[in-house]
């Protein structure tokens, strides 16, 4: 077996580390791996490149549905123009006990719980995090700490996005009809092992609890970190 097709992985690693444009890195990696594979099967360079472009182009075309989700942006933009983020900020700012950390812990819990019921579309970055969760998290911090420094604001936004991902990943696997459970069941069946989806989803629960505890503790400590990031000396 030729090892040359792995060259695409090297292209990806070097490209991302050197911070080249990711879209360019990904296209270069596809070409490198595809051509290397073509050469190893005895094609000449031109034929290998054409075959790679065909595979890459077909897969790109077949996956257009992924990019459709951006059609949400006009609604979100329009609502932002009318003050949605400000409203979300005020709402949370009015509740003094709701710190950034506590708000995000609450969101983590809700996101895990709804994902476990298969309601994964009740969240996500364009739909929830940008218009509602991140502004609420910032609003809670502003209510407690006053105007935010840039590092504090960036930290809050990054943790808001992280919390959405973690809640989704370690909730959805409890739902028995989710893609990953079906993939596991199908793969084990091919190898002669029959498992119940319910058994798989039960064994997703311990990790879900651990994820809540681990990320929850980090969120609990976030408020103190933000106070430090927002202190006058940190701003200089």
């Amino acid at each position: 077996m030729s090892l040359w097709p792995l060259i695409g992985i090297a292209v990806v690693v070097v490209g991302f580390v050197l911070r080249f444009n990711p879209l360019l890195v990904v296209a270069a990696a596809a070409l490198a791996t595809g051509v290397a594979f073509g050469l190893s099967t005895g094609l000449d360079v031109v034929a290998a490149a054409i075959k790679t472009l065909e595979t890459f182009g077909k897969a790109f075309n077949d996956n257009r549905y992924i990019t459709l989700t951006w059609m949400i942006l006009p609604v979100i933009g329009l609502l932002e123009r009318a003050g949605l983020q400000e409203k979300a900020r005020d709402l949370v700012g009015a509740i003094k006990v709701l710190t950034t950390g506590r708000l995000l812990i609450l969101y983590l819990l809700v996101r895990q719980f709804t994902s476990a019921l298969g309601l994964t579309s009740l969240g996500g970055h364009p739909q929830m995090v940008r218009p509602l969760i991140a502004p609420m998290a910032e609003g809670a911090a502003e209510a407690n700490l006053g105007p935010l420094t840039e590092p504090a604001r960036m930290r809050i936004r990054a943790m808001s996005a992280a919390t959405d991902n973690i809640g989704l990943f370690f909730g959805e696997d409890i739902f028995i009809a989710i893609a990953s459970i079906l993939l596991i069941k199908g793969f084990l069946e091919q190898n002669g092992i029959v498992v119940e989806p319910l058994a798989l989803s039960v064994w997703a629960m311990p990790t879900a609890v651990l994820a809540f505890v681990i990320h929850g503790v980090r969120l609990w400590r976030l408020d103190a970190q933000l106070a430090k990031l927002n202190a006058p000396e940190a701003a200089q």
């Binding site: 097709p5 879209l23 296209a27 897969a59 992280a162």
Partner: protein
């Protein structure tokens, strides 16, 4: 039947509108780059199914080239000032949340309803695409409600959409392009090559062997997911390479615990890689973070601790 072809026409019109609005933004020195990028994407949506695989491949290269040589740049559509927004928020109040919440709600209800909706024997909506059709329908409902509430001039929603799409920029196309890279990797057998290495050098007896097999499997899942950007690609390779032959075969572990916790170890890898762009790179762009890898940095501590916890969990319960 309403399915992907209809959605792609709607998407094509959307991106064509983004391209044209971008081109008319005279104050933006990169407006022609924006026109070319979003215009090509509109071509892909409208005609991608008719132009053939090779032309699609060249089209991706052109898009990547435009992004790689910084041809895109955000324009400055007119939007409201922070003061105007606060005033509008006070005037409209909590009603502002309704259009935003209608989108996930319609998506949710539609996903279940469309799968069941048949006329005669035919589905009205392609059941495989029920979620996507529901999402687009939810977006349209949200848009109608938002317009009724805010009453903007007709071009305003599209201009506001362009403002956000410009903020996301090339990153908007990264998830789709990564999925295409995954297909090229699969066709070249990258997974099998790595899988052949994975189990080769592990000891197959003794208590140390049992521990090593679990560690190699959970960390292998995470590392392979970091490389491929997707735990689904890592699972068959790592499970065939280490999980089934060693943990289940040699050491008689429970396949259910192995598979369930193994997949979740892969998810820990998803939290740490720019290759999982829609979770990690896109939100950084959407939230206008100064650090492209800011979301990944925020996730790494949780991911690493949870990966270790998963490894312990599997070792304790799998045997």
């Amino acid at each position: 039947m309403i399915g992907l072809p209809v959605l792609y026409v709607i998407g094509g019109v959307f991106f064509a509108a983004m391209a044209l609005l971008g081109a008319f933004d005279r104050g933006n020195p990169k407006r022609w780059g924006n026109l070319a990028f979003w215009g090509l994407l509109a071509v892909s949506f409208l005609f991608g199914s008719y132009i053939g695989d090779l032309a699609n491949g060249v089209l991706v290269l052109a898009l990547a080239g435009l992004a790689g040589f910084s041809a895109l740049g955000p324009g400055k559509p007119n939007t409201t000032t922070p003061e105007e927004r606060r005033e509008s928020a006070a005037r409209l109040g909590a009603k502002l949340f309704i259009p935003a919440l209608v989108i996930p709600l319609v998506t949710l209800v539609g996903t279940f309803a469309f799968k069941a909706w048949t006329v005669g024997d035919a589905h009205v909506v392609d059941p495989k695409q029920a979620t996507l059709v529901s999402l687009i329908l939810g977006i349209l409902c949200g848009l109608v409600l938002a317009v009724a509430l805010i009453r903007p001039r007709p071009t305003v929603p599209a201009q506001e959409g362009r403002r956000l799409l410009d903020a996301v920029g090339w990153a908007a196309l990264l998830p789709q392009t990564l999925a295409a890279l995954g297909a090229v990797f699969a066709a070249a057998g990258v997974g099998q090559i790595i899988g052949a290495f994975a189990g080769a050098s592990l000891p197959d007896s003794g208590p140390a062997g049992a521990i090593l097999a679990v560690v190699a499997y959970t960390f292998g899942m995470a590392i392979f997911t970091i490389i491929m950007g997707n735990a689904f690609a890592a699972f068959p390779v790592m499970t065939a390479g280490i999980g089934l032959p060693l943990i289940v075969g040699t050491f008689h572990g429970d396949p259910v615990v192995m598979a369930a916790v193994g997949m979740l170890s892969g998810f820990c890898g998803t939290l740490m890689t720019p290759m999982a762009a829609n979770f990690n790179i896109v939100p950084a762009a959407l939230l206008e973070l100064t650090d492209r890898y800011g979301v990944i940095r925020a996730q790494i501590p949780t991911a690493l601790i949870l990966l270790i916890a998963n490894t312990v969990l599997m070792y304790v319960f799998v045997y």
